[in-house]
C-alpha cells in the first residue's frame, strides 16, 4: 500500500506542494537562524580558538569573557611560573587601541602583545611575512580582513577603490609609529575589529597609559600534569582565576548567552519558523486528509486496518518531511556557502542538521496526529453515504 499512499499524496499537486513548502520553510528558517547563532557564538571565542598553544589561561577572578580585560600586576607572571606543574607561563597583552589612518580617520583595533622572546600565542596562519618579523623595529602583523577593509588606505584617485594595507606600510597607533611586517589570517570575532599582533613590550607602548597591562598569562602544563588540577593549584596559590581554553570558551559563550539578547532573538526566529511551518504543513495535510476521507473510508470498508492506515499516513507525512527537510537544509547551506566570505556569521555543524531533523520529525508527528485521529475515528459505514 506504500505506492498507493504516495500516489494519493502526490495526486493533489497543490496540497502536496503546500505541505512541502511549509516544511521547507520551517527547516530553512530553523537551520539558517541556528547556523547564524552558532556562527555568532563561535565568533565570540574566535581569539581563543586562534590561540591554542597553551593549556591554561590565568586572569583576574572577575573576568567574565575574553574581551573583558582586567589587567594583572606584572609580578603575577613570576608567581605563576613558580607553581609546580607549569612548563612555561607567558604574558599576553590584549587591548584596544586607536589606529590613525592616513586619511585622518581613527579605527579601533585589537592589539595583541606576544611574549618578546618566544612570540607564543601568535596568529594561526601567516599570509605574508613571518611571525619572527615582529622582532624588526616597530613591527606589527595585521589581519587580512583589517588590511583589506577597515585599515585600508584611501583610494588613489577620488571615487576609486581603497588600497589595502601592505607589508612595508606605516600606520600610527596611539601616536606611535608602527610598520606592517606581515599579514595574517584570524578567525572573525564578534566586534569585527582589525587584529594587530606585536610583541608584548611594544604593545604596552601602543596601549593607553595604565598602571597594569598584563591581560592574561598563558600557561603550558608539564607533561603528565592533569590540567584541571593545575588550574586548581594556580587558583589557590595566586588567588587568580585559571581556566582551560575550553572552559574559558564556555564562560565566554555563556556570558553572551546570558547578558545579550542574542539567544532570545534567534530563539524567537526559530520558534516562529517552527510554528509557521507546522501551521502551514499541518493545516494543508489535514485538508488533504479531509479531501481523501471518503477514500480512507472505502479502504477501511475494503479491509484496511488502522495499522495499515497509520502506516500510509505516516509514510505520507514522512515523505513530505524528508523532501521539505532536504530542500530547507539545502537552501540554508546554500545561503551559508554564498555568504562564506562576508561578515555574515554562519556555522553549520552536523548537530544543527540533527536538531532541524528532530524539529521536522516533530512537525510531521504533529501534522499527522490530527489526520490519524480523524481517520481512526472514521466509520467505514460512511462509504455508503453519497
Amino acid at each position: 500500500m506504500n505506492r498507493i499512499a504516495l500516489k494519493m499524496l502526490m495526486g493533489d499537486r497543490a496540497k502536496y506542494f503546500g505541505i512541502v513548502i511549509g516544511i521547507t520553510f520551517a527547516s530553512f528558517l530553523i537551520t539558517q537562524q541556528l547556523a547564524i547563532f552558532v556562527g555568532l557564538m563561535g565568533r565570540t571565542i574566535g581569539f581563543l580558538s586562534d590561540t591554542g598553544q597553551g593549556d591554561v589561561w590565568v586572569m583576574d577572578s572577575k573576568v567574565q569573557f575574553i574581551d573583558d580585560i582586567k589587567p594583572l600586576q606584572d609580578t603575577e607572571l613570576y608567581r605563576v611560573r613558580g607553581i609546580t606543574g607549569v612548563q612555561w607561563a607567558l604574558p599576553i597583552y590584549k587591548g584596544l587601541s586607536k589606529a590613525r589612518l592616513d586619511n585622518g580617520n581613527f579605527q579601533t583595533c585589537n592589539i595583541v602583545g606576544l611574549d618578546d622572546a618566544t612570540l607564543m600565542g601568535g596568529p594561526p596562519e601567516m599570509l605574508e611575512g613571518k611571525l619572527e618579523d615582529l622582532r624588526k623595529a616597530d613591527g606589527i602583523i595585521v589581519d587580512e580582513n583589517g588590511a583589506i577593509g577597515k585599515l585600508a588606505k584611501g583610494p588613489k584617485e577620488p571615487g576609486g577603490q581603497p588600497v589595502p594595507l601592505k607589508v612595508g606600510d606605516t600606520i600610527e597607533l596611539n601616536d606611535h609609529r608602527a610598520i606592517v611586517v606581515g599579514i595574517c589570517r584570524v578567525s572573525r570575532t564578534f566586534q569585527s575589529q582589525p587584529f594587530i599582533y606585536t610583541t608584548y613590550s611594544r604593545a604596552t607602548t601602543f596601549a593607553p597609559k595604565e598602571r597594569k597591562l598584563l591581560s592574561f598569562i598563558l600557561v603550558k602544563a608539564k607533561d603528565g600534569q592533569p590540567i584541571v588540577e593545575l588550574c586548581a593549584r594556580i587558583r589557590s596559590e595566586t588567588g587568580l582565576e585559571a581556566k582551560t581554553t575550553q572552559s574559558f570558551k564556555e564562560t565566554t559563550v555563556s556570558y553572551f548567552m546570558k547578558y545579550t539578547g542574542i539567544p532570545i532573538n534567534f530563539g524567537i526566529a526559530v520558534v516562529l519558523g517552527f510554528l509557521v511551518g507546522t501551521a502551514i504543513a499541518g493545516q494543508t495535510f489535514y485538508n488533504f486528509t479531509l479531501d481523501n476521507l471518503k477514500y480512507f473510508g472505502a479502504l477501511k470498508a475494503m479491509g484496511a486496518s488502522n495499522f495499515t492506515l497509520l502506516r500510509m499516513i505516516l509514510l505520507q507525512s514522512l515523505t513530505v518531511g524528508a523532501i521539505g527537510y532536504g530542500l530547507g537544509v539545502g537552501m540554508a547551506a546554500f545561503v551559508g556557502f554564498a555568504a562564506r566570505n562576508t561578515e555574515l556569521a554562519f556555522l553549520l555543524p552536523w548537530q544543527l542538521l540533527v536538531i532541524t531533523a528532530a524539529a521536522v520529525l516533530l512537525i510531521c508527528a504533529l501534522t499527522s496526529m490530527l489526520s490519524l485521529y480523524k481517520v481512526f475515528r472514521l466509520e467505514p459505514a460512511i462509504v455508503f453515504k453519497s
Binding site: 498507493i4 472505502a298 484496511a304 488502522n306 459505514a381 453515504k385
Partner: protein
C-alpha cells in the same frame, strides 16, 4: 438462471434492529429484519428512500454494528469478532460497489482494481497483473492505465466492479450501483454484474430503487420503514 443445486446460506438475519442516535433524535432504521441470502443468488433490496436499505447492507457487510438481533455471514457473527479480525475478514470475503464509485482519483484503473489484493498483502506486481486480467473481464482491458477522470461513469463503475471481484469475495454488496448512470449504462452494468459476479459460491446483494433493473434479480426483498415487507421473485424473470 444459474444452477441452484449446491446452494448454501450466505447471510442469515434474525430480528435485526438498528437505531441511530438517542433520546428525542432516536431513529429506528431497522425494526426487526428477517432475511436469508443464498449463495449463487442475486438478491435485490428495494424500497423507498429512507426505509433502511443502506443500513441493512452496512450491517450485513460488517461495517456497521447492529443494535439487536442475530446476523451471520457464512457462519461468522461480526459482533463476536474483534475490530481487527472483522476488518481482516471483510477484506478477504466481501466486495463492495458504491454508488459514488469511490475510485481513488490519483490511481490508474488497474491500481484501483488492485487495492483489495494489496490490502490482503499481495505484492504490487502480481496484484497489477491480476487487476489487468480482471479489467479485461469487465471489458476495460485497454483502459488499465487510465485515471478515473479519463473514464465515463459506466466505465468507472466497471472498474469498481473489477475491484469488488478481484479478491474473489464470497459476498458482494452494491449500494445503488446504477443511480448515477443513465438507463442504458445502468442496464449494461447490471448485465455485467450478473455475468461476472454471480457464481455458485457467492452471494450478491444489490440495493436499488431503480424499477427498471429489478428484472436482473433472482429474488427481490421489498423494504418499508425498517422492515422487509415482502420477498418475491421478479414479475417477469428474464431468460438467461
Amino acid at each position: 438462471m444459474t444452477a441452484k443445486q449446491a446452494t448454501a446460506t450466505a447471510v442469515t438475519c434474525r430480528n435485526v434492529t438498528k437505531t441511530y442516535g438517542s433520546g428525542d433524535s432516536l431513529v429506528h432504521a431497522l425494526r426487526g429484519i428477517d432475511l436469508e441470502v443464498e449463495t449463487g443468488e442475486l438478491l435485490m433490496l428495494v424500497g423507498p428512500s429512507g426505509c433502511g436499505k443502506t443500513t441493512l447492507i452496512s450491517v450485513v457487510a460488517g461495517i456497521l454494528d447492529r443494535s439487536g438481533g442475530e446476523c451471520s455471514v457464512f457462519g461468522q457473527d461480526f459482533s463476536a469478532m474483534s475490530q481487527s479480525a472483522r476488518t481482516r475478514w471483510r477484506g478477504q470475503n466481501i466486495g463492495f460497489v458504491f454508488q459514488a464509485y469511490n475510485l481513488i482519483p490519483s490511481l490508474t484503473a488497474a491500481e484501483n482494481a488492485a487495492v483489495p489484493l494489496l490490502l490482503n498483502g499481495m505484492n504490487m506486481r502480481e496484484a497489477l497483473d491480476r487487476a489487468r486480467a480482471m479489467l479485461e473481464r469487465v471489458g476495460l482491458g485497454d483502459r488499465a492505465k487510465s485515471l478515473p477522470n479519463q473514464l465515463s461513469g459506466g466505465q468507472m463503475q466497471r472498474v469498481a466492479i473489477a475491484r469488488a471481484l478481484i479478491h474473489e469475495p464470497r459476498l458482494i454488496v452494491c449500494d445503488e450501483p446504477t443511480s448515477a448512470l443513465d438507463h442504458e449504462t445502468g442496464h449494461k452494468v447490471l448485465e455485467l454484474l450478473r455475468e461476472v459476479a454471480v457464481g455458485p459460491d457467492r452471494a450478491l446483494v444489490i440495493v436499488s430503487h431503480d424499477q427498471r433493473i429489478f428484472d436482473f434479480a433472482d429474488r427481490i426483498a421489498r423494504m418499508d420503514d425498517g422492515r422487509i415487507a415482502e420477498i418475491t421473485p421478479p414479475k417477469e424473470p428474464i431468460d438467461l
